[in-house]
């Protein structure tokens, strides 16, 4: 089951990784990861990895005996399970017709690797490390014209102290196909470095929900790369609530006309958590729309970061790109950073962006209190509304309640400490 890829892949990754820093394949990992981006690098300035470079971390050897699998949360969903970063067929569902799951051989692994390498994720630490250390790259293929109504529930779990976990998933949706995916990250005390490549062919559509809920000793540096062809639709929502340090970075390339992309998200942070949603959207062709709505609620000494880059190429006329980030701070010691970056080289486009960081609105609070509602309850109502609003807009009806409950669970913990 484990890596059956051969010399070419290994040589190729080795060469590439050694450019990343003068450490060789595997050795790089076993001798501590020393090659973390420094705070001088613009995209890592607000999310520093200094702590990691002082830790001795080695890649995990997946334990195929582990059975402590967390349960599915949905009736009828098709489960795809990764334990310690390795795909576990024995703990996964049989897939429906029109879909298949394969472990990539050498040639395909290389191809996947090069797609990442050609993107702007080429310097992301997970790209560099996980392509060397992943047990295998797993590919989910949805055939042409296949539209699957049941959810794929992808569960990532396992992990252990001072070990790193490297799941790698490649999702390809052929023409006119569509799927709905729920991904849940539930690792213990690990450094998790997931890679994901999503390729949407003409008129393909994916609804994606990611819930980051690793334990509070974990680091998660997820790197996601998406390519969208004509008329394809990528609708994604991330809920970041777990981990000591969680950064979800997604780069999306709009390569075909009339495609639509939503990269929305919510982060809920408390104690000394650090949460980061970083996105880059590349409008390379005309007539596409993209939207990013990000909201955060922070308590304790937590930090939230939203970095959103939108690049509109000179040819990408009639682009519609929207970006909005709002954060509510419930504690004086919490910090929220927002860094919108718009690079627009076309002249006939609509691009809007905005960012606010603040406390709960005074007037709204007074209005609720003047109706006899206690201050605590009023704050709860307002924060809940703040999240409900975006969840309802971003997530399809049948799972809105699930997402909302997942959020509310964490929210009530934060609120009970702060108000």
């Amino acid at each position: 089951m484990l890596h059956n890829v051969k010399d070419n892949y290994i040589t190729s990754v080795k060469e590439y990784v050694s450019q990343f820093e003068e450490k060789s394949f595997r050795k790089l990992a076993s001798n501590d990861f020393k090659s973390w981006p420094s705070p001088r690098e613009e995209t890592w300035r607000l999310s520093r990895l200094g702590v990691l470079s002082r830790k001795k971390i080695t890649p995990i050897t997946p334990n195929f005996q582990k059975k402590n699998a967390s349960l599915s949360k949905f009736n009828g969903s098709k489960i795809i399970r990764f334990v310690d970063g390795a795909f576990r067929e024995d703990l996964s569902s049989k897939l429906p017709p029109g879909s298949s799951l394969n472990i990539l051989g050498e040639e395909d692994s290389l191809r996947c690797f090069h797609k990442f390498k050609d993107s702007n994720l080429k310097d992301h630490p997970s790209t560099n490390v996980s392509f060397s250390c992943t047990p295998s790259i797993v590919k989910l293929t949805i055939e042409k014209d296949v539209k699957l109504r049941d959810f794929f529930e992808i569960i990532y779990e396992g992990g252990d102290n001072n070990l790193s976990v490297h799941p790698a998933l490649y999702i390809e949706l052929k023409d006119n196909s569509s799927i709905k995916v729920i991904e849940r990250f539930n690792h213990l005390s690990s450094l998790i470095m997931p890679l994901q490549l999503v390729e949407l062919k003409t008129n393909a559509s994916i609804n994606s929900l990611k819930i980051f809920n690793d334990d509070q000793q974990s680091y998660n540096l997820s790197a996601n790369c998406a390519f969208l062809a004509d008329k394809s639709n990528y609708n994604s929502f991330s809920l970041i609530k777990g981990g000591l340090f969680t950064r979800s970075e997604t780069h999306a390339y709009l390569k075909g006309e009339n495609c639509n992309l939503n990269l929305n998200g919510v982060y809920l942070s408390s104690k000394n958590q650090h949460h980061d949603l970083t996105t880059a959207i590349y409008h390379d062709v005309p007539n596409c729309t993209s939207k990013q709505i990000v909201r955060g609620v922070l308590g304790g000494k937590s930090t939230g970061v939203f970095q959103g880059k939108v690049r509109v190429a000179p040819d990408a006329q009639k682009t519609d790109g929207q970006q909005m980030s709002r954060a509510i701070l419930l504690s004086e010691n919490a910090i929220a950073n927002a860094k919108p970056e718009l690079e627009i080289y076309a002249d006939d486009v609509i691009c809007a962006h905005g960012a606010t960081v603040g406390e709960i609105d005074d007037e709204q609070l007074f209005y609720l209190k003047s109706r006899g509602i206690s201050e605590k309850k009023a704050k709860q109502i307002l924060i809940t509304a703040f999240l409900k609003d975006i969840i309802n807009e971003s997530v399809e009806g049948s799972i809105q309640n699930f997402v909302f409950e997942e959020a509310e669970l964490t929210l009530s913990e934060i609120i009970s400490k702060e108000i």
Binding site: Y367, K369, S370, R371, I373, A385
Partner: protein, 250 residues
């Protein structure tokens, strides 16, 4: 015991004297109108009564049924039976009208020692009251005040008043932004709630509203204190001669 008693209320905002010794007594069953020109302190008075942060009295006192308000937060005052209809009702995106109303009504009921209403009973009650106020069901499903017209906002305020059954209601410029038809609906809603056990204080610029909600007493507020009190005829005098004449005479 009077229902509401304001005794020599003084209040500063940013070091500027706004209320300069205002006194007023309101008994059960009465409707009082407070009229005054711009900047006389009308809205400050309503915020002070409702307990908004930053509107604490510097000296003087306010009693609701003999109980001092000074130590009470806005929510406690509301639960005790004080209601403020806002001049500019606040939008609450994401907060559904029905659940907002239910939270408010149950807070008050709990305070009164009454049983909280379950969802079904509440919805039934809310719909009944809403139809009297010409508030459509659909409006209760929307987020509070979001996308409401001026008239809808004011109707929703009076709907809240009807649901909460306050002892004393302060209507802050409820007529502003209303056309004649809307004014009539809102006034009918208010009048329907008048009884021997409660009282209403109407704060307004214009006499117009007082044609619909007829007061027992009219007070002229100028420069932070009440300079003249009288019956409904005082409002007509304002309408005829303006505030200037009254203020100069005082």
């Amino acid at each position: 015991m009077s229902l509401l008693e304001i005794k020599n209320a003084k209040l500063k905002i940013d070091d500027k004297d706004i209320l300069k010794g205002l006194s007023l007594t309101v008994n059960k069953g009465e409707v009082h109108a407070i009229m005054g020109p711009n900047g006389s302190g009308k809205s400050t008075l309503s915020y002070m009564l409702a307990g908004r942060d930053g509107y604490e009295l510097e000296s003087g006192e306010v009693f609701l049924e003999g109980k001092s308000l000074s130590e009470m937060e806005a929510d406690e005052r509301a639960r005790s039976g004080l209601f403020l209809a806002f001049q500019y009702p606040v939008e609450l995106p994401g907060v559904g009208g029905m659940s907002f109303l239910r939270e408010a009504v149950n807070s008050r009921r709990k305070f009164l020692g009454e049983e909280e209403l379950d969802h079904l009973a509440f919805v039934k009650e809310a719909r009944k009251v809403a139809s009297k106020m010409f508030v459509k069901d659909e409006m209760l499903k929307r987020a509070v005040n979001v996308g409401f017209s001026g008239g809808e906002k004011k109707r929703f305020e009076i709907l809240q008043m009807a649901m909460l059954k306050p002892k004393i209601s302060i209507l802050d410029e409820t007529d502003s932004g209303l056309d004649v038809d809307a004014l009539k609906i809102v006034s009918d809603g208010v009048n329907a709630q008048r009884n021997d056990d409660n009282a209403i204080v109407v704060i307004t610029h214009y006499q117009r509203l007082l044609d619909y909600i007829v007061p027992d007493f009219v007070h002229i507020l100028s420069d932070g204190s009440i300079i003249k009190s009288g019956g409904p005829e005082l409002a007509l005098e304002v309408e005829k001669n303006g505030y200037a004449g009254l203020i100069n005479a005082a």
